[in-house]
Symmetry: C2
Subunit: 443 residues, 2 copies
């Protein structure tokens, strides 16, 4: 067991970070280099032919997801792992209109739990921002790149991937290809004896399944380690006899409690949902995302998803994509399934998501920066006055949609700590301040 | 040693096939399923959620490059290995004009060493063609897809990658950024004590270096095994103490004989050239290919290259790309560096390549289907009446450029055997017959 762990740990770390499961451990760490100090260009990662040993980022020894290497890795996932493309096709590019507003930099807000005001511009480095895009009334009013990212680059979306998996599921539900009230076992018989078997599709979509699932990193037998070993795309170590791949792993999960009562953020729900939508549609998550969204939204670039050793896309955290393309996802959500004059899916899809999930079940999870919110079809719904909702991924990834302000914000980031609770204090109020600024400006 | 080999073999096989080094071993095999029988869609590789065990293609056990799995793998390299993109950028797409000619299917030719004539159409399945494109006077006159490929897909270019590495080198030479007469050691001091140190850049470009290099697969200490282990993108097995990556491996090669006398096709020359052009340009091969060619030729898709464990692109065989984009490479070579009305590099570059290399040195290598030819800057020059030349990769990959007929043919294929000598008999005369047909038609 010990040797298996030693062999697999670096890969595990990657998968864990992608899926947000390293939140607790990362939070234990101390102080970090600031954004300028940890800029991957300044640190010279992977430069030179060959890069000198102290500038190499590779598996397995160097733990490519550790900070500050993380700040390079988030733009280079495919160079470290096998991936499957999310294709835009070879249709003509569709460009955004620009109406840049230099006044946004000076917008001020007070961080949650803080007293001293901060400017929008200051928040970007505080949050280790790699890319930030603000769309207002469909036009780009703000767009900046830092760290490893540029306008032609791609960045790990981390758990924002879940929201796309959830969106695809909701599309299939609204179109009648997937019954959200069905028991999972009726769609995936292989999951009959697992915790998922007795859950409904909707409970999986909203992460209210009751799973016997431990993320205690100090316990080498915790479920999270089994999950990570199963999901690794690398060949399994000699002697490994556990499940291979997401689908085999999901069958091993046991139930603990009653489904539908409590929201519990577990990436395995997204992988189960990926399986469900694949069975329902006959396409894997990457293929379905390509066919339904990416190839029809005027995407500028292909995206890609990491895969397990059997080629299964990581529906819970594997997507990397360009920032403006994530902006197009935000516009689709903002505008009820329409973008660039095309309707991609029925408006009912976003209506259901924006209505939110079970707020009582959500409250049980105790998210301090998201009080009063809910989780619906793998989107975070704030239930605030603007009807805002978001895709969120560890280390600061977000698509923040504010319908009242006709605004979408995309942030790619590489904050040293995984957990968004740390990042929310200087991002959520900043988003609200920009929304207020734009609404006031346009009056 | 034995256990290291067992652990690494499947990956090695992949790298070997990509680089064409499995030619000899594959030739030992017997009869194969024909093109229709081995069609990867018919065989159902990687279909289902999950694919049943007998339909899985993965590392390490199943040897993803073995025939007939090979026929799926050639379109899915990135799903099995880490890769680096060759970016097209986000510039507008440039489409080809079409002037399809259904008469081409009926063009007949006599296979080399054969007696019975064959039609062009018949040759496609005989050669396990995955995609075939004929450009004449800059327009598409023929375009078909089979097997794993379609018009939005990508296919392994195998050793055609070498020709792009050679093209980039020739561009740097003509532009004065690289001295083809310089000793390699003056550009890469790390290679001073290796076989390459005393060779000139030109000798590396033309593969006339004299290397003490064994490809005897029955000898577990043959150089080819060391090369493959070094190049594997997977974490090195416990206990491995050899070189890690292309750059470290190249330093271990020893000289045997006098440089410049004999052409000997060794992939390591391309990797050495990749290193040379990276040092000279400050960009790795994938980056340089993006910057100088891919982002400026109106490419429809990004390409990508496999990488070693340190992120070094495989300059000798790692490229995957769309077929029409390979057609653009052919047009650039045909039209002296111009495409879609843009000049990408000086005409002198293609003039030098098309003039060919040392025919006497080439004759020593004994290529029966290429008698009278030569190898220049990693392009195969036929020295025939049409001034034809080609990029070639194992299993039937080619960009065939015929200046007299103003024609470019691109073929992607997954012929069961690696060696092109087997494929040439039903492809080279077919290309010549189509050239004659088009010239006669246009008279």
């Amino acid at each position: 067991m010990k040797s298996l762990l030693r062999h697999s740990l670096p890969v595990l770390a990657g998968i864990l970070v992608l899926s947000g499961l390293f939140a607790q451990t990362s939070a234990l760490a101390g102080s970090y280099l600031n954004a300028a100090q940890s800029d991957p260009r300044a640190l010279g990662w992977m430069t030179g032919f060959p890069p000198p040993p102290e500038r190499l980022i590779m598996q397995p020894e160097s733990d490519f997801f550790s900070f500050p290497k993380l700040r390079w890795t988030v733009c280079h996932i495919r160079e470290l792992m096998p991936t499957k493309r999310v294709y835009r096709g070879i249709t003509p590019l569709t460009s955004f209109e620009y109406a840049l507003d230099a006044g946004i930099d000076a917008v001020t807000f007070t961080p949650l739990g803080g007293e001293k005001p901060m400017t929008w511009k200051e928040s970007l480095s505080v949050n280790y921002t790699d890319g930030i895009l603000i769309l207002h009334k469909g036009r780009v009013v703000y767009e900046k790149y830092f760290g490893c990212l540029d306008g032609m680059g791609k960045h790990a979306a981390m758990s924002m991937t879940k929201s796309l998996t959830g969106l695809l599921a909701e599309i299939l539900v609204v179109e009648g290809q997937l019954d959200e009230t069905a028991k999972v076992s009726s769609i995936i018989p292989e999951l009959k004896d697992s915790a998922f078997g007795s859950a409904s599709v909707r409970q999986v979509m909203d992460m209210t399944t009751a799973l016997d699932y431990s993320e205690d990193y100090s316990d080498p037998e915790a479920d999270i380690w089994h999950y990570s070993k199963a999901a690794s795309p690398l060949p399994k170590p000699v002697g490994y006899e556990g499940p291979d791949g997401y689908f085999e792993y999901l069958q091993t999960l046991r139930q603990d409690g009653v489904h539908g009562e409590v929201f519990a953020y577990r990436t395995v729900n997204s992988d189960a949902l990926g399986w469900i939508i694949s069975r329902a549609s006959g396409r894997d998550t990457a293929h379905l995302l390509s066919e339904r969204i990416w190839s029809r939204m005027g995407a500028e670039q292909d995206g890609y998803m990491t895969v397990d050793a059997k080629g299964t896309p990581f529906a819970g955290g594997g997507l990397s994509a360009g920032m403006r393309d994530m902006g197009r996802i935000g516009l689709l959500m903002l505008n009820g399934g329409k973008i660039h004059g095309q309707r991609l899916f029925p408006e009912e899809v976003t209506k259901k998501i924006r209505a939110g999930g079970d707020r009582k079940a959500f409250a049980e999870a105790g998210y301090k920066t998201l009080e009063g919110g809910s989780y619906r079809s793998m989107w975070w719904v704030f239930h605030n006055g603007h009807g805002a909702f978001a895709a969120r991924g560890v280390h600061g990834q977000t698509i923040y949609v504010d319908p009242a302000a006709d605004m979408v914000i995309v942030r790619f980031a590489s904050f040293p700590k995984a957990e968004n609770a740390q990042i929310d204090s200087t991002s959520l109020p900043a988003y609200q301040a920009v929304a207020a600024y734009l609404m006031k400006r346009d009056k």
